[in-house]
Amino acid sequence: MEYKTTLTTCPYCGCGCGFYLESIDGRLVGTIPSKTSPVNKGKLCIKGWNVHEFVQHPNRLTRPLVRKNGELQEVSWDEALDYTADKLRNIKEASGPDSIAFFASAKVSNEENYLLQKFARAGVGTNNIDHCARL
């Protein structure tokens, strides 16, 4: 059996509480607040204490899906990525870069947001990128 604790940052509100995720053999089993975090200093709210519960939920998306004959169907990564890139390229060629728009995310990391806006601006050529800061 492998028991591991990993220090990381909460994905819920903007406080940024630090905690250790406990895992046994790759399965998340618990959350322990970090006493040395400058934000939460050993405390957590009810959402934080239970944060490990949603991660490995059986309903998680685990395969790419593409709509065929009206239904979302499982496909390979290669097919999903090619389909996406080809469609985006065709739309840009037919209707221009500003016909494509991007939702960045308040849930993903800085690095991922940076890449998405770089793809929008440098790849596609549009500043149509926004996220739900207002919601």
Binding site: P38, V39, T84, A106, A122
Partner: protein, 527 residues
């Protein structure tokens, strides 16, 4: 936040307005408890009665959408009693005379009529806030989600500047960010008008810098906001939407309108961890990973950049989100070759002055608060030190009170306001799948004042219909005097009783935030 979370504990007065802190930011609420214990005055202004009110020195329930009037009334009293800091105003700000003129129109008696807050309480708030040595303002979406959202924030800035309660430790104007990385998404240029670190797309030198760094020619035209993208789809100018980790089918106002737009688009790409109501309408769904399966950074509400570390392997065939974006970009024709999130952060710090000194190695421990311009800089605890504002002098804006976009009438006689509950988070995609949280609050509840409920024969547990000009939903009622007469409240976490079917899409003219906090509604008992 201009200041830091820890500073709240040591302030002499905290003015909480439009934030249900114990419910939505419980860890920050603990700092407010400690401040109270140390003798700080606590002021709470919220249209609903909230838990924090129980320890407040002044607690007021202003009418929905009347924050500008309330704040102008407070500032009127401060001027009248000479509690403003003329020295700070003269040395560090401009435009105060125009504000002084506007404030003349807001004597406490008149403000009391608009806001429902007594003149005595307005004077008390003014005294506590202005005359305490260090006062801090804490606000949240109760201030911003209005057609006057920008006006509300500017009014808070006026109040802080005229009393010199900014640019010092334990003071400031402190918005509590509702989402773990909403600060970071803004910092990283996830906005239509700016690259990373708020560098404007319209400034030629900035454009040139990014064109050189990215090896591409870039557009200097400000892009569309989300509500504008949705209307763009309806008018045919926008054909494709790439939605990363967002769920507009539950989070955005007027769900029926969002659904029409998503169905009308030629291509909808959704990258997420669950099959959300938004993913159901997509043409392509790309499985990304949760925070527990990735390395990276989040930036919290006090501008602190914090490490996120991978604890477990991605579920099934799900892939790291940065790899998915990189692969699509490369296949699209713009090649990317990063080998890790750390390599991406190296590039971020090279093009972003406020993140210039941020490296993964330096983030071990407490993280770093931006601005952190270079490798020697230890980060910034509070902004505008000594009255040195980003633009030079702090700018005052004269603001007049405006009523909400939709007001009650004979057909829709009650006010509806929305928000969060303690056990759930945003559209519920994560928290409603956590058993312990779902046991706490399994379904949506509409809070109704007993007087309003009595007129319609509604009792706690009864099903009721709520109808607005946008739509109609059924929800269970709960009677409580924590909500004032003629207002009803419901959370927006629950897709089966989706509050955003009802809410108004009217936008603030400047920042385009929708007025989610106020609309007119009809309440009926389900027979």
């Amino acid at each position: 936040m201009t200041n830091s979370i820890d500073e709240l504990e040591n302030t002499d007065c905290i003015f909480v307005i439009g934030s249900n802190t114990t419910s939505s930011h419980p860890i920050i609420a603990t700092r407010i408890f400690r401040a109270k214990q140390k003798g700080a005055k606590i002021i709470v202004a919220d249209p609903r009665k909230i838990q924090l009110g129980m320890l407040a020195d002044v607690e007021v329930q202003q009418n929905l959408g009347t924050d500008v009037a309330l704040l102008n009334g407070i500032m009127h009293v401060i001027m009248d009693r000479g509690w403003h800091k003329q020295e700070f105003i003269d040395a560090h700000t401009e435009g105060f005379d125009a504000v002084k003129e506007v404030l003349k129109n807001y004597p406490p008696d008149k403000v009391s009529e608009i806001t429902g807050v007594s003149a005595d309480d307005i004077v008390k708030i003014a005294e506590y806030y202005a005359t305490s040595e260090a006062s801090s303002i804490v606000y949240c979406m109760g201030i911003t989600q209005h057609t006057t959202g920008v006006d509300n924030v500017k009014s808070l800035a006026n109040l802080a500047m005229m009393t010199g309660q900014i640019g010092r430790e334990n003071t400031g104007v402190n918005p509590l960010r509702g989402q773990n990385n909403v600060q970071g998404a803004c910092d990283m240029g996830g906005l239509p008008g700016v690259y990373t670190g708020y560098q404007a797309v319209t400034v030629p030198e900035v454009q040139k810098k990014f064109e050189a760094a990215w090896g591409a020619s870039l557009s200097n035209k400000v892009g569309l906001t989300i509500p504008e993208m949705m209307s763009g789809v309806m008018s045919g100018s926008v054909k494709a939407l790439y939605i990363l980790g967002e769920n507009p089918m539950v989070s955005d106002p007027d769900t029926h309108h969002v659904e029409k737009a998503l169905k009308a688009a030629e291509l909808v790409i959704v990258q997420d961890i669950f099959r959300t109501p938004t993913a159901e309408l997509a043409h392509v769904v790309l499985p990304g990973v949760s925070f527990a399966e990735k390395d990276g950074t989040f930036s919290n509400t006090e501008r602190r950049v914090l490490k996120v570390r991978q604890a477990v392997a991605p579920m099934g065939d799900a892939r790291h989100d940065w790899e998915i974006i990189q692969d699509i970009s490369t296949r699209f024709g713009y090649a990317m070759h990063y080998d890790s999130p750390e390599a991406i952060m190296k590039e971020i710090s090279s093009v972003t002055p406020s993140y210039g000194g941020i490296t993964y190695a330096r983030l071990e421990g407490d993280g770093l608060q931006w601005p952190c311009p270079n490798a020697e800089h230890s980060g910034t605890k509070f902004l505008h030190k000594g009255g040195a504002f980003t633009r030079g002098k702090g700018m005052f804006f004269p603001i007049e009170y405006k009523a909400p976009a939709e007001v009650v009438d004979e057909e829709y006689p009650l006010w509806l306001t929305t928000g969060r509950v303690f056990a759930h988070y945003h559209t519920g995609t994560m928290t409603r799948r956590a058993e312990a949280l779902n046991c706490e609050i399994p379904e949506a509840i509409l809070e109704v004042n007993p007087a309003d409920a009595g007129k319609l024969g509604i009792r706690t547990g009864d099903w009721v219909y709520l109808t607005t000009r946008r739509g109609k939903i059924a929800v269970k009622a709960q009677l409580t005097d924590w909500i004032k007469e003629s207002i009803v409240f419901m959370p927006f976490h629950f897709v089966e009783a989706n509050a955003n079917v009802l809410t108004n899409t009217a936008l603030d003219p400047i920042c385009k935030i929708p007025e989610l906090k106020v609309c007119a509604v009809k309440l009926e008992k389900v027979q």
